[in-house]
C-alpha cells in the first residue's frame, strides 16, 4: 500500500501521475474491461475513472480503507453509472466471453490487499449459488433481474443472496460498526 501517491496527486505533483498509473492502471483497466462492452468502451471508461482519481485523490482517508479499495470504489461508481446509461442497448459481447473471471483464493487475493483477502475469505464461506449470484453481479455486471433469469431463481432470492453476501464481506472487513448483521 502506498497512499503517498494519492497524496502527491492531491498536492498537484504532476510527477506523481506516472506512478499513479503504474500503481493502479492494471486494477482500473481490469475493472473497466469486465464492466464495459467493448475495448473502446473500456478505454473511455478508464480515462473517465482516472479523471475522477485526479480530482478525488485529496479525499483519500487511510482510516477508511486501503488505497486500492478507494480506487476500486471510484472505478466501480463510474462503471456502474456507465452501465446504467447503456442498459437499454443490446449487449455486444456474450457473457461467455467473461466466464474466465472469478474470485481468487484468499492467499492469492492477499497479494492484492488485505481487504481483497478478507473478501475472498468471506466469499469462500458462501454457498455456491450465493457466491455465483455475487459473481455475476460484481464481476460480470449483470443486473439482479438478469441474474434471476439466468439462474432461474426468484428475484427476491437473488436480492437476499446479494444482501447477505455483501454483509458477510463487510463483517470480514470489520466494517460492522453500524451494526449490520448477516442474519438480515
Amino acid at each position: 500500500m502506498n497512499p503517498s501517491v494519492l497524496k502527491r496527486i492531491a498536492s498537484g505533483d504532476p510527477a506523481a501521475v506516472r506512478d499513479c498509473i503504474e500503481q493502479y492502471g492494471a486494477l482500473v483497466w481490469s475493472l473497466a474491461r469486465r464492466l464495459t462492452r467493448t475495448p473502446s468502451d473500456a478505454e473511455d471508461a478508464t480515462q473517465e475513472i482516472f479523471l475522477d482519481i485526479w480530482r478525488s485523490a485529496g479525499r483519500f482517508d487511510a482510516s477508511q480503507g486501503s488505497d486500492k479499495v478507494f480506487i476500486a470504489m471510484i472505478a466501480r461508481r463510474r462503471l456502474i453509472d456507465r452501465l446504467r446509461k447503456t442498459v437499454a442497448e443490446p449487449p455486444a459481447d456474450p457473457l461467455e466471453a467473461l466466464e474466465t473471471v472469478a474470485w481468487a483464493d484468499p492467499g492469492t487475493a492477499a497479494e492484492v490487499s488485505l481487504e481483497a483477502e478478507q473478501a475472498a475469505r468471506a466469499l469462500a464461506e458462501l454457498k455456491p449459488e450465493q457466491r455465483q449470484v455475487l459473481e455475476l453481479g460484481l464481476l460480470h455486471g449483470l443486473t439482479q433481474s438478469e441474474i434471476a433469469a439466468r439462474l432461474k431463481l426468484p428475484l427476491g432470492t437473488v436480492k437476499s443472496f446479494m444482501r447477505r453476501g455483501l454483509i458477510r464481506i463487510r463483517e470480514y472487513m470489520n466494517l460492522e460498526a453500524e451494526g449490520v448483521s448477516a442474519r438480515n
Partner: protein, 289 residues
Amino acid sequence: MSETSAPEQPDEATMDLLVKRAIEGLSPAEQRALDVEDRAAVSAYLADFERAAAAAALAASAGAEAPPPALVARLERQGRELLAPNLLQLKAVPGATAAAPPAKSPGPAYGWFAAAACLLLAVFGWLRSPPPQAPAELAEAGRPPVTAIAPPAAPKAPTLQEARAALLARAGSLKLTWGATKDALAAGVAGDVVWDPETQQGFMRFVNLPTNDPHQHQYQLWIFDAARDKRYPVDGGVFDVPAGSTEVLVPIHAALPVSAARAFAVTVEKPGGVVVSAREHILVLAQAS
C-alpha cells in the same frame, strides 16, 4: 454479532436498495425512494457496501493486465494537464474583487422544479437550434477585475488569463459566446468559451454565474463532439464559482479526446458531477456555426 446501531439500521427494503446501488446502480425512481430515507444511515451503509463490493472486485483482480500503452500515454497526458500549476484546484485567487453580490442558490427542490419548466425548450434548443436567448455581451468598462478560479500561481507560471490569451492566438482555436437558457440561475449570465482542438485545451469565461455551494451542487461542462453519439457528450469538468466573483475563468478538462467540438453546455449537477447529465438544469450553451 455486533448489533450496535449508530445510525439506525434501515429496513429490509432500503437495505436491498443500498445493496443494489452498490452493485449495479439504481433507476431514478429507486434513487428517489432512497433519497427520502434517513440520510445519515443511508450514507453510512452505502459507503460500507461500496467498500465491500470494491474489496470483492479486488479479490478477482490478481494478475490483472496493464492497460494498452497508447491508453497509458493518454492517461499520463490527461493527468499532467490536470495537475499542472494553475489547473488543479478551483479556488479564488487572493484579492479577488467582491463586486456584485452573488445570486442566491436555490435549494435542490426549487432547482429541479425550475429546470422542469424549461427542460423541453432547453433540450430542443440544445440539440436543434441556437439557444433561445442571445447572451448580453460583456461590457468591458466598469467591470471589476476577473477572478481566476485557480490556486495562487507559481512564480513564473502563466496566469489563466495569459494561458487563455495564448490559446486564443493559436490558429484553429474556437471562441464561442455563451447563450443563457431561461433557467432562473442563468439570468444575466454571459461570457464565452475558448477551445483549441489541437491541444485539447480550453477556457470558459463567465460573467454573473451565481456562486454555488459545492456541497449542494456543482457546475459541469459538456462538450458535444461531432464524432461521438450526441446523447453522450464528453464530460468537460466540474467547477465551482467562489463567493464574491462576478467574472470567472475556468480551465476545461475534457475527460475524453474531442475530435470536432460543435457545442458546449453547462449544467447544474450533484456534487462531484455525473457521467451522463439528465439535462434537467441547463444554464448556458455555446454552439459552433
